[in-house]
Symmetry: C2
Subunit: 168 residues, 2 copies
C-alpha cells in the first residue's frame, strides 16, 4: 500500500481547484480585453441542457468538499449557489481550498474502508471510501473542471493543456 | 498508507475507458438514428484549434497506457493514430484496456517512488511515480475523456453524467 487517502484526495483537489482558479482568471481577462460582459461567459453552456460555467464551478467545488468531508466524517460546508461574478466564483473556489487544507492526513486515516452513502434523487449509492474517492468523486470533480475549461475554450479564451494540468 | 498504485491507476483507467466506450456507442447510435455521417461527429471539435473527437480518444488511451507502462517499467505499447471510424476507435479503447489489465499489482509495487521522466517538446518533466499518477496522468486522461463527452453532448447526443461516471 503506497498512497495515502489524503494525498489522493486533498492534494489532488487543491491542485485541481487552484488550476481552475487560474483558468477562470484567463476567462475574466479575456472578457475585459474583448469588452465582453463577464456574465455572458459565466452563463455560457456547451448545450442548452448542460449547466452553465457558474454551475460547473459550483458542482466542482461541491464535489471536492463533499468528498473530503464525507471521508473525514465531518460536516460538509454548505455554500449557497448564488455566485454570478468572476470574483464570487473565485471566492467560492478559495473557501473550498481553505476547507480542504483544514483536513489533516490523520482525519483521513482509515477512510479507505469507511462506508459512504450518497443519496441521489432516485436512489442511494453505497461505496467503500477508496472506491468513492477513486471511482466517483475524482471523476466528478475532473468532469466539471474540464467542462468549465471547455466552455471557456469554446468561447475563444486562449487556454492550453498546461493551464488545466498546472505546474510551473 | 491505504491505496495501492494498481487500484489508483489500472482500476481507474479501465473504468474510465470502459465508460468512454459506452459514451462513444451512444454517439454512434445517435449518428445512425439521425442519418448523420459518423465522420462528422468523429471530426467534431469544440474550437477550431482544439483536437477533434478521434484525437481525444487517441490521447486518452495514450495517457492511460503510457502512465501504467511507465509506472510498471515496461515498454509502452505504440498504436498508430489512424482511427477514422467508431469501430476503429472502439478497437483502440479495447486494446488499451487489454494492456492495462495485463499489468499486475505486483508490477506496480513500489512504483510510487519510481522516477518518471516525461520529455515534452520544450522541456522535461520529472516526477515521483505517485505525483505523476495523481497530479498529471489521471488529470490528463479525465481531461480527454470529458472533452470527448462534451464534444458529443455539444452535438446533441443524449448523454448524462452517469454515462461518464459509469456504474450500473
Amino acid at each position: 500500500m503506497s498512497l495515502s487517502m489524503h494525498q489522493a484526495s486533498v492534494s489532488v483537489f487543491v491542485r485541481t481547484l487552484s488550476n481552475l482558479s487560474a483558468i477562470l482568471k484567463k476567462g475574466e481577462a479575456f472578457a475585459e480585453a474583448k469588452k465582453i460582459d463577464p456574465s455572458v461567459l459565466i452563463a455560457s453552456r456547451l448545450a442548452p441542457d448542460m449547466h452553465p460555467l457558474s454551475r460547473q464551478i459550483q458542482i466542482a467545488t461541491d464535489g471536492a468538499k463533499g468528498c473530503v468531508a464525507r471521508l473525514a466524517g465531518v460536516e460538509i460546508p454548505s455554500y449557497p449557489d448564488t455566485e454570478t461574478t468572476f470574483a464570487e466564483l473565485q471566492a467560492r473556489i478559495a473557501k473550498t481550498i481553505d476547507f480542504l487544507k483544514s483536513v489533516t492526513p490523520a482525519q483521513l486515516e482509515g477512510s479507505e474502508t469507511r462506508e459512504i452513502v450518497l443519496k441521489l434523487p432516485t436512489r442511494e449509492l453505497k461505496f467503500a471510501g477508496a472506491d468513492f474517492l477513486l471511482s466517483f468523486a475524482t471523476a466528478n470533480v475532473y468532469f466539471h473542471v474540464t467542462t468549465a475549461y471547455d466552455i471557456l475554450r469554446h468561447n475563444g479564451v486562449e487556454l492550453g493543456k498546461m493551464d488545466f494540468l498546472g505546474g510551473e
